[in-house]
């Protein structure tokens, strides 16, 4: 009964998105009602998705065949543990974003395109996780990609937005093509588009590897794995902030879902080969470190957050890669731990990255700029936004007692508990990836000290920022929900992991529950308390007690505080521009990793009056993405060059075209006849 109910609720979530998309053009005459309808339907859909996800995880889902789609292939939908979990992820961010959007869109002039494509985008993501055949999967996948293209190019009056949208569309479709190739391989082996048939079919190692590589590169492109990430840092910042939150928070996760669906579910852990896990692990480690290194050099707040998504996708892949390696070497319990770590980080990242983008949107909304070099001191102007943003900063920096630390800790444990695998080099790769994870985590903390310090602390660096106002209650409320979830997921992992445990139960037929329940819910013990344990509630209680004790002891006679000018080593007459800004904060790292960044620096000193009297100094530094520069641009140039060469062929007469047709027919006959 519960099972059917959860599927019906998931369908209800999809249906409310269809209604929203259809209703939007009808309500065009009254923007306020249009906005209310959009937010309310999004909220209903998000809530239904959360409930469906929870009940689906607890009681299992069901399946249904809708008479839609191709005549010989009706639409198969199914809610299983994996799908339920990702539905939960989608819902848990859609709900707060819908509330936030009500405030955020209050001054939006072009509401109709958003009101049509935002529900379609959410519908596409929900459809992907519910689909039970390859055709339905691709249908919703493309719906998600195309509708998000229109959201990225929402402000299409700016040429750079159109360009970002074009690159996004191009790469999304290349990804779609690769994914289709992966499904085609599985179809060729099983003879059916239905997932159930693909699961049954046995696949040869060679074709399994082909399908794995196609899926890996296809979903990797969509998830923004280095070096296929070129579209991501351009596309995410230009979308409206509520859309950026959804794109970064959950659309990338849907790509992770697709990857798990094809490799772990349709092919199964029995088919894993050792180099699959090693490849995923290497891709994860390199994405994690290079994503955060690039993020450190950004001064556009939303672009910086977009690079952090690359980092976090890398962390998820480290967990998945470890799981795949361990599953291949027959350690199913440890593989389950790796999978749980990856899934835990998936929902964590959805929450804190959604919150970060909403916070960045709030700042953008009130100051009109994304440039961090113009911000500063916003903690005094926007206390709520800054406090909630700080929660997200601590969470993403993997610091206790918030949620980011729990998932990274679980990933560390997976790496450290891994026994001897294959050769010494493969075995050493595992702790090396853990060290890369540590580097990424520590650099992320550096980056978020920079973000919070430059945006919210210090003095305002421009007029617009000095006069900023706090956002309205809807936007505040939208940000409070994920912040509370970040704290709860950080404090109570032992209550959440049993829910997650249904996924490895379905995919690997092993469970982590026995080792978790050895101890009370206070301690998180992935294997055994002898080996590793962590208790966030106790750590938090201990810190609160200690902090309270110190405060109580130091404040016996009231609060003696004198406000005065800042000391600044005896020179309080400083200017706001003399503060450390985003460029100077990351200068040491720019110098340390100079070969990686290859920054373009320009210095110019004006000396108008006298050769020794400097009146004005200009320093411009620009760090461009090396992958884009070294890989994408040559490919782009080569394509243009090729097009230039064959462009003359277009202008030939009819006889030339007939000759081409003839040659093609001959070629096809020679190959296939």
């Amino acid at each position: 009964m519960m099972a059917v109910l959860s599927l019906h609720m998931a369908l209800g979530a999809c249906l409310s998105m269809v209604i929203a998309a259809v209703a939007a053009p009808c309500l065009q005459s009254n923007p306020t009602i249009q906005r209310i309808a959009l937010s309310a339907l999004l909220a209903i859909s998000g809530l239904l998705a959360v409930v469906a996800g929870f009940t689906g995880l607890i009681s299992g889902g069901g399946s249904i065949t809708l008479p839609l789609g191709l005549p010989w292939l009706p639409m198969h939908l199914r809610l299983d543990a994996l799908g339920s979990f990702f539905l939960l992820v989608i819902g848990s961010l859609t709900l707060p974003v819908s509330i936030y959007s009500y405030g955020y869109l209050s001054h939006e002039k072009k509401l109709t395109p958003l009101a049509i494509f935002l529900p379609l985008f959410v519908l596409g993501m929900m459809g992907v996780v519910l689909s039970d055949d390859a055709f339905t999967f691709m249908l919703y996948w493309e719906l998600m990609s195309v509708s998000s293209y229109f959201l990225v190019t929402h402000e299409h009056q700016y040429p750079e937005n159109r360009k970002a949208g074009f690159i996004y569309l191009l790469m999304a479709h290349m990804a779609g093509l690769l994914i289709m190739g992966s499904f085609a391989t599985l179809y060729a082996v099983s003879g059916s588009f239905e997932f159930s048939a693909m699961r049954e079919a046995s696949i040869s190692p060679l074709w399994a590897s082909v399908a794995f590589l196609l899926a890996g590169f296809g979903f990797g492109t969509k998830a923004g794995v280095v070096p296929m990430h070129g579209w991501l840092p351009d596309a995410h910042p230009v979308a409206p902030s509520n859309v950026s939150a959804l794109m970064s928070g959950i659309m990338l996760k849907v790509a992770i879902f697709g990857f798990i669906r094809i490799t772990w579910d349709l092919m199964g852990s029995g088919d894993f080969q050792w180099w699959w896990g090693a490849l995923v692990l290497a891709a994860g480690s390199s994405s994690a470190v290079s994503g955060v290194l690039m993020a450190l050099q950004q001064h556009d707040l939303k672009r910086l957050l977009a690079y952090h998504s690359i980092e976090n996708i890398g962390i998820i892949l480290i967990g998945l890669g470890l799981g795949m390696l361990l599953a291949h070497f027959n350690h199913p319990t440890l593989a389950a731990l790796g999978l749980i770590a990856a899934l835990y980080h998936t929902i964590n990242h959805a929450l804190f990255k959604g919150l970060l983008f909403m916070g960045a949107g709030a700042v953008l909304h009130k100051t009109g700029t994304r440039n961090m070099e113009k911000m500063g001191g916003l903690i005094h102007r926007m206390p709520w936004t800054s406090g909630l943003f700080l929660v997200a900063c601590i969470s993403i920096s993997a610091l206790p007692p918030f949620n980011g630390f729990v998932s990274e800790w679980l990933t560390f444990q997976t790496a450290l508990m891994a026994p001897q695998l294959g050769g010494a080099l493969l075995t050493a790769m595992v702790p090396f990836s853990a060290a890369m994870l540590a580097l990424a985590g520590a650099l992320a903390a550096t980056c978020f000290v920079k973000v919070f310090g430059v945006v919210f602390l210090g003095h305002a660096r421009s007029e617009a920022v000095a006069d900023a106002k706090e956002v309205d209650m809807w936007m505040k409320f939208g940000m409070v929900i994920p912040a509370v979830c970040c704290l709860l997921l950080g404090l109570l992992p032992t209550l959440f992991i049993p829910l997650l445990d249904h996924v490895p139960q379905a995919l690997l037929h092993t469970s982590m529950l026995s080792s978790l329940h050895n101890h009370s819910w206070v301690w998180l013990t992935p294997m055994d308390a002898e080996r590793a344990s962590y208790s966030a509630p106790l750590a938090l209680i201990g810190m609160l007690l200690l902090g309270g004790l110190a405060f109580w002891w130091l404040h016996p006679k009231g609060n003696h505080i004198r406000r005065s000018k800042m000391w600044s080593c005896g020179n309080p007459h400083t200017h706001a521009r003399m503060q450390y800004n985003a460029a100077s904060f990351s200068q040491p790292l720019r110098r340390i990793f100079v070969d990686l960044y290859q920054p373009e620096e320009h210095e110019h000193a004006e000396r108008h009056k006298h050769a020794l009297l400097t009146t004005r100094v200009k320093y411009i530094v620009h760090v461009s993405d090396m992958v884009v520069k070294q890989v994408y641009q040559p490919i782009g140039h080569a394509t243009l060059w090729l097009a230039k060469i064959i462009r003359h062929e277009h202008q030939r007469g009819i006889h030339a075209y007939l000759a081409y047709t003839f040659a093609t027919v001959l070629f096809l006959l020679a190959v296939f006849a």
Partner: protein, 315 residues
């Protein structure tokens, strides 16, 4: 019940000893430089004095600036109370394993750096930028060095790791030697000592830790100074625990604890005399040689790990 008492005793000792440790190091340094020094109680007297002083805050200091000293202090003390110094198996040691311990210290550092950025002086930002940069490079090296031992002991719980070292026969393991050197190098970075940072200088363009504290006064400054003293003692105890744990008490009886206390103090004195000698005989590194130093530490720790897999597990 008695283990809870000794747990508390151990934590209180860590916190109360910490300023004495600073005093000890500076006294030994003074003797090495033919000075008398201010005595080992001086840091305690400084903290005492600061607690009674008025707090002067910059006009636009936000709540972060006032909140940070408490976070830094409690996170450091919380981390310190997890590290066993006298008794091997304590109730709190389950709360945080070695990774969580590193993360607790990182939480303190995060708030310390934010406080540095809060006032908006060039010094604060400079200190925050350097502190976060160098610690970001130090953290993987430190974890790598700990992993060498953790993989050998199949655990990241400090208690289990120490027990493993105690129960293995005393052999020279090359991997552990590499890990030790790396760990010593990292400890100097993390605690801000010469040749990376100099805790006794202010207003120097190469300062790191002190630059973030420049705007602090009164009890806030006292808490920050105290926390950094606790951190120094914590790192020394961590090195003792991981590499030379012999002498730590296995059961919670008064006699063995007293013995363990004396052995712990003796080991600490040896470590800090070495630190004082090094600080007296060395000059500070140039700022941009620090990453190379950290890179060397990381490579050493990674070599230790490879050696562990190739020589010690294979045979």
């Amino acid at each position: 019940m008695s283990s809870i008492f000794f747990q508390l005793l151990q934590a209180v000792l860590m916190v109360m000893f910490a300023p004495l440790v600073l005093g000890f190091v500076s006294t030994v340094k003074a003797r090495l430089q033919n000075r008398r020094g201010a005595g080992i109680m001086q840091p305690w007297r400084d903290i005492q004095k600061l607690f009674n002083k008025e707090v002067v805050l910059a006009d636009h200091a936000s709540w972060i600036f006032r909140f940070a000293p408490y976070v830094v202090f409690t996170a450091t003390v919380m981390a310190a109370s997890v590290v066993p110094s006298l008794l091997l198996d304590t109730p709190l040691s389950l709360t945080a394993d070695v990774i969580a311990l590193v993360a607790l210290l990182a939480l303190g550092r995060f708030f310390l750096s934010l406080a540095g950025m809060d006032i908006g002086t060039a010094f604060g930002g400079m200190g925050a930028s350097r502190e976060m940069t160098f610690s970001a490079l130090a953290e993987p090296a430190m974890l790598m060095s700990i992993f060498v031992l953790a993989i050998g002991a199949h655990s990241t719980n400090l208690t289990t790791m120490i027990a493993h070292t105690l129960h293995t026969p005393l052999l020279i393991q090359p991997s552990i030697a590499f890990a030790l050197v790396a760990m010593l190098m990292i400890a100097i970075v993390e605690t801000g000592r010469i040749p990376i940072d100099n805790p006794s200088t202010h207003l120097e363009l190469t300062m790191i830790h002190e630059a973030m504290l420049l705007e602090y006064s009164g009890r806030h400054l006292a808490l920050m100074e105290w926390a950094s003293a606790v951190k120094l003692l914590l790192f020394a105890t961590l090195i003792i625990d991981l590499f030379f744990p012999w002498g730590i008490s296995g059961d919670a009886s008064l006699v063995t604890i007293a013995l363990a206390l004396m052995i712990w103090i003796a080991k600490l004195m040896v470590l800090f005399v070495i630190l004082a000698v090094m600080e007296t005989s060395m000059a500070k590194l140039r700022m941009f040689e620090v990453p190379q130093y950290l890179g060397a530490a990381f490579v050493l720790a990674f070599l230790g790990l490879i050696i562990h897999y190739m020589l010690e597990v294979a045979v």
